[in-house]
Amino acid sequence: MQAKYLDKIIVTFVLELNKELITSEMSIDIQKIRSDFPILAEKIYNKPLVYFDNAATTQKPQVVLDKLIEVYTKYNSNIHRGVHFMSNKATVETEEARNVVQKFINANQSCEIIFARGATEGINLIAQSFGEKYIFENDEIIVSEMEHHSNLVPWQMMAQKKKAKVIKWEFTDAGELELDTLKNLITSKTKIIAVNHVSNSLGTINPVKEIIEIAHQHNIKVLIDGAQAVQHIKTDVQDMDCDFYVFSGHKIYGPTGIGVVYGKEHLLEEMPPYQGGGEMIENVSFEETTFNKLPFKFEAGTPNYADTIALAAAIKYISEIGIDNIAAYESELLHYGEGKLKNIPGLKFIGTAKNKTSVISFNIDGLHSYDVGMILDKMGIAVRTGTHCTEPVMIHYGITGTVRASFAFYNTKEEIDKLYDGLLKVVEMFA
């Protein structure tokens, strides 16, 4: 009896020791991080919130919320061209934010950073402006089959306008884009390739550097949709050598309504403005308008300076934690999650690429994703269900949707355990 008791103590001790070892291996302090995000303490239907919808939008740390309040309580004033103190302060902070973004994605110059409403507006800007200048009748635009509608529809619209063609670059059933397939699609008519860095519905990390290298061998430009990448993996636009890169603020712990467009200076210089109005002009008369220099040429109207400044606060926050630490921890969550979820009877992963961010898309045999999501919601677990704005991906797999759990660095293995238990309950309820 006593020996048995002793055994138990030893086992507990070893388990605790292991736990500590694992924790010490992780270079992020999860409890500290969770306390930085006030919303994570919220209860949903009287249950602790488990937020696994991070690919749709991320939660905001206190420093970002504080920054928004700081702007509006200390120096809210329309930026640029103001003569007074507060306008000057707001301008300095906004332009400093541009420098923060520049450093974050390692752009060569800050004038290559344009602020837009989000990644969607960013892609529309590039599609319209680049298309206006460089795309003509019968030209071809290669778009991958795994794009968010935001990186497909703007190109379809541009193609229609210019009588050009959108060419589909199909992915494999594992959810990977193959370079050989791309090589076969390239023709002398190809003008630009639009592809995501990371797929929002599959989590695939695409070989963007290789894609860009192939494209450039044929003098083809490349736009990378980084909306699902910058918050998870290190992004270096000069190293990958992309011509354009876009991302959204709200998916990287910043506010909604702000996004970033990176473009190589010489291209942005040659391209016509996207919208007209204030800020983007140099001189205006009724006879003629000359346009402002970069980046202001592409920022018509009063810029969203408050969210821009708060976006910089978000970027600084994650930079302090370290994007590599975030990537390592999230990869741990991904593998833990996949290892756990594969034990759910009838569960099938959608998207099994070798190189993935912390996104798990799945379906359970005989169950509709909406039903699964509804029941999980009742347990306080937030996942996304449906097509995730990637209908071509659903068509590829012949499905109507998936359940998507997407993890951020403030999520924990305990939360994944709750998802697992929740799914077991779902299976039982629909049996």
Binding site: Y45, L367, H368, S369, Y370, D371, G373, M374, I375, K378, T385, G386, T387, T400, G401, M429, F430
Partner: protein, 142 residues
């Protein structure tokens, strides 16, 4: 009391015995499973109400001055609510359907299923039912 409200109150009464969400949803799941599925050849694009979460098929027929609905959905919970909506509206006169105020969903705690943002096809289905009411009403009075 109108027939439509009598039917709604019956449902509210039925649901009142459940004291937690799990019982409510389990019952809904049962209703969804029990509702006769539309045969595949009847699920034409003309009667499809496409939501980006789940889809609903709704067909109607006018018999002896009354509308009879048949419907289906690819999601079970949606189908359970579809079953309730049919129970409330089917076999009524067009005008009654047209003017019906459907309060039972709210009262049985399934409101979130009928919010416009859910895009599960249910909001559009209710609209469509009322459209049929209006269309048949106009037809019968011309």
């Amino acid at each position: 009391m109108s027939e439509v409200n009598k039917r709604q109150d019956e449902i509210v009464e039925e649901f009142s015995v459940f004291d937690d969400w799990m019982d409510r949803y389990s019952y809904l799941i049962d209703l969804g499973k029990e509702l006769n599925a539309l045969p595949e050849d009847k699920k034409s694009p003309q009667i499809l109400i496409k939501g980006c979460q789940s889809q609903v098929w709704l067909s109607s027929e006018l018999k002896d001055g009354k509308i009879y609905f048949e419907a289906d959905s690819d999601a079970i919970i949606t189908k359970g609510i579809v079953a309730l909506l049919i129970r409330v509206t089917s076999g009524l006169e067009p005008q009654e359907i047209m003017n019906a105020e459907l309060y039972f969903i709210d009262k049985i705690g399934l409101r979130e299923n009928l919010s416009p943002t859910r895009s599960n096809g249910l909001v559009a289905m209710v609209k469509q039912m009322k459209m049929y009411g209006l269309a048949y009403h106009t037809k019968l009075n011309n």
